[in-house]
């Protein structure tokens, strides 16, 4: 019986600036509540907006797994789409491999997209039931690598099928999604994302829909592929327990703002933001001997249309002082590589 284990990746040493693959500079994304020309005329300029992402900055280094965690409504999925420029940022700059993608003309952006891919929340639903496995995987190739001949494109597809462990690849080429098992379908979805040879994979809750016993397999496969294909992951998740097993660094978001960024172990063991602390505390532990005793923060996550002033977490924060409601805490480095946005981080 094969019992495979893989080691949780530990934080890597800080790397040089040239090793940065993605950089976000004070990026904002506001979604106006009303749309349409006449509506905007009628509203007289000021339109209320959902401030999904409200000024965040961070870098993703080449070859790392960068985790982005937070509750629903924190803006983490929006960040993922901004990085791929599936959304245009309201303000701020986004660099991919040193290129400012926000200003890139459509044609160049299209070419750049081959270097970045998105894996969706529900990978099983994203396969067209009337396309063969081969067609599904070849589709992005024919778009991004159209200069290749049919034969070369097919070669690429077979190669990636082999890489995701579907061996022999030829035997899967003509099958339809319903003819293979669920686990194989997950592999196909990954293969499709990776066939154009991307450098960055934005994985938005890639395992949220999978069963417990399948999750481990899928994570393992993703990590193997990362090594094999030299990938960088932006791993978006609400599950801090899973993040622990894959991420090198992690960032915690709350209501469109960054609370804390740092190497995973550093953040988990020395969390300096009350919200991070609460979030880690809330994760149920599969051990009945270690039941939680800490009380949870009061209230609920407020609306992103009118977020609280000052520190956004202050209305729920057990440590909140008067100034928290006024001054917005900047993201500051409290230990090497560990940044936190809290006035009282030292007290946590």
């Amino acid at each position: 019986m094969a019992e495979k284990f893989f080691q949780a990746a530990s934080a890597k040493p800080a790397e040089a600036a040239s090793d940065v693959l993605v950089r976000l500079d004070n990026v904002r994304k506001h979604f106006p509540l009303q749309s349409g020309f006449i509506a905007s005329l009628l509203s007289g300029g000021h339109t209320p907006a959902v401030k999904a992402v409200d000024g965040i900055s961070f870098v993703i280094k080449k070859g790392e797994v960068f985790g982005l965690a937070g509750e629903s409504g924190s803006g983490k999925s929006t960040v993922g789409r901004l990085v791929l420029r599936l959304y245009e940022p309201t303000s701020g700059k986004i660099f991919f491999d040193g290129i400012d993608i926000c200003k890139l003309p459509e044609e160049q952006m299209r070419r750049l997209r081959a270097r970045m891919q998105l894996v969706f929340q529900d990978p099983l639903a994203s396969l067209n039931p009337r396309m063969t496995i081969g067609q599904a995987i070849q589709h992005p190739v024919s778009i991004h690598l159209s200069h290749l001949s049919q034969e070369e494109q097919r070669e690429k597809v077979l190669h990636i099928l082999e890489a995701v462990g579907m061996i022999p690849p030829e035997s899967y080429f003509e099958l339809f999604p319903h003819q293979i098992s669920g686990g194989q379908r997950q592999r196909v979805v990954l293969a499709r994302a990776l066939v154009t040879g991307p450098e960055l994979v934005v994985a938005d809750e890639p395992i949220a829909m999978a069963d417990v016993s399948v999750r481990a397999l899928l994570l393992d496969l993703m990590m193997q592929l990362k090594e094999k294909l030299d990938l960088t992951y932006l791993f978006i998740t609400h599950d801090l327990a899973t993040a622990k097993y894959v991420c090198d660094r992690i960032a915690i978001m709350y209501l469109g703002k960054m609370c804390e960024i740092g190497p995973l172990n550093e953040v988990y063991q020395h969390s300096a933001h009350p919200y991070t602390r609460a979030l880690l505390e809330a994760v149920p532990v599969p051990d009945p001997r270690r039941r939680r005793t800490e009380p949870m923060p009061a209230g609920e996550i407020p609306s992103a249309i009118n977020p609280p002033p000052g520190c956004r977490f202050h209305p729920r924060c057990p440590l909140a002082q008067a100034n928290c409601a006024v001054d917005e805490p900047p993201l500051r480095e409290i230990r090497p590589g560990h940044f936190v946005a809290c006035h009282y981080a030292e007290k946590v």
Binding site: A8, D211, A216, V285, D287
Partner: protein, 332 residues
């Protein structure tokens, strides 16, 4: 431990009629729900745990049907009740909390209407005013401010909606609440608060809760006992401490080891081989045998029965059978 259980499920089998044939979503399942306990029913998606939960209230709809078994609730066999009698049990004696609080509330009905309607469905003599007052008192207890009762479901957050669902289950002082994945769509902090609430309610009202979930962490957090389902069968049941400390069934073992644990350092995740079987063509013998690292000859052909391994801890696995093979029913 009270001698008489609140709800005894005996040899319950639930079948789905599909185009490809009958699928057993629950097969020969027997267990007890004891008074004032929280029983966690865990399993992966498609193992039949949700179907089982609905069948306990006879809420399953065509094409599903109960093909056998007894549902002994508080001294009565629910299987023998008429539909009208059953309706009186639902809501009044057994409440249910569903997975997605957004879709489990009627989007065009105000919260208060949900509550008063439920009360008046069972107590037609209650006036609207009385029902409203009762609802307000109950809601207050569950941390829902009474002015919010006028709102529609979409105006509330996920956590609030789940509180509403609980209040609906408790509106008539149900003895048993069946909660089907109540926290799955909630964020961790909201989930933690909801679990606190459940604990509190059990204490205050002497509530019995059947918590159906795939989240092992939640079970560890709150349950008194755990029942594990695999491919429509119950494979293990016992005290939560026992099971987490020493799981007996290889499936339970694998399951527990494949759960990420935030509090452990440098550990690695166990990867269980293979996929859960298709219930249309389940494997012969023990359903777990194709994935089982300890599979034996007998596992391929004979299905093991649930047997006590130590005291209150039962499992269905040939590894623990004292008398090998003979009791096993051949199936396939």
């Amino acid at each position: 431990m009270p001698a008489e259980p609140l709800f005894s499920i005996r040899n319950l089998t639930v079948e789905y009629a599909t185009r490809a044939g009958a699928v057993k979503a629950a097969e020969d399942v027997s267990f007890d729900i004891r008074r004032e306990e929280i029983l966690g029913l865990v399993g992966e998606s498609g193992c039949g745990k949700s179907t089982l939960g609905k069948a306990l209230m006879r809420l399953h709809r065509t094409p599903a049907r109960i093909t056998g078994g007894e549902l002994l609730f508080d001294g009565r066999d629910l299987m023998k009740l008429t539909e009208d009698e059953m309706r009186a049990v639902r809501g009044a004696e057994i409440g249910m909390v569903f997975q997605d609080p957004m879709t489990s509330l009627n989007p065009v009905q105000r919260i208060i209407e949900h509550l008063t309607e439920t009360v008046r469905a069972h107590e037609p003599r209650t006036t609207d005013q009385e029902a409203r007052e009762r609802a307000a008192v109950l809601a207050e207890k569950l941390g829902i401010r009474s002015e919010r009762l006028k709102e529609y479901p979409h105006q509330m957050s996920g956590g609030m909606r789940q509180r509403v669902m609980i209040s609906l289950a408790l509106a008539l002082r149900a003895k048993l609440v069946i909660a089907d994945e109540p926290t799955t769509s909630l964020d961790v902090i909201v989930e933690a608060k909801f679990l606190d609430l459940l604990r509190e309610l059990r204490r205050e009202f002497g509530l019995t809760i059947l918590l159906i979930t795939h989240n092992i962490g939640v079970v560890a957090e709150i349950a008194d006992r755990v029942a594990v389902m695999y491919a429509a069968r119950l494979v293990e049941i016992g005290d939560v401490q026992d099971i987490f400390a020493s799981p007996k069934h290889p499936y339970t073992q694998g399951l527990l080891r494949s759960v990420p644990n935030i509090q452990l350092d440098g550990e690695s995740l166990y990867k269980m081989e293979g996929m859960p079987p298709n219930l249309l063509h389940p494997p012969r013998g023990c359903r777990f045998h194709p994935r089982c690292p300890f599979a034996m000859e007998i596992c391929r052909d004979y299905s093991p029965e649930l047997q006590a391994v130590d005291g209150d801890h039962f499992t269905a696995c040939w590894l623990y059978h004292k008398t090998t093979g003979k009791e096993g029913a051949k199936n396939g």
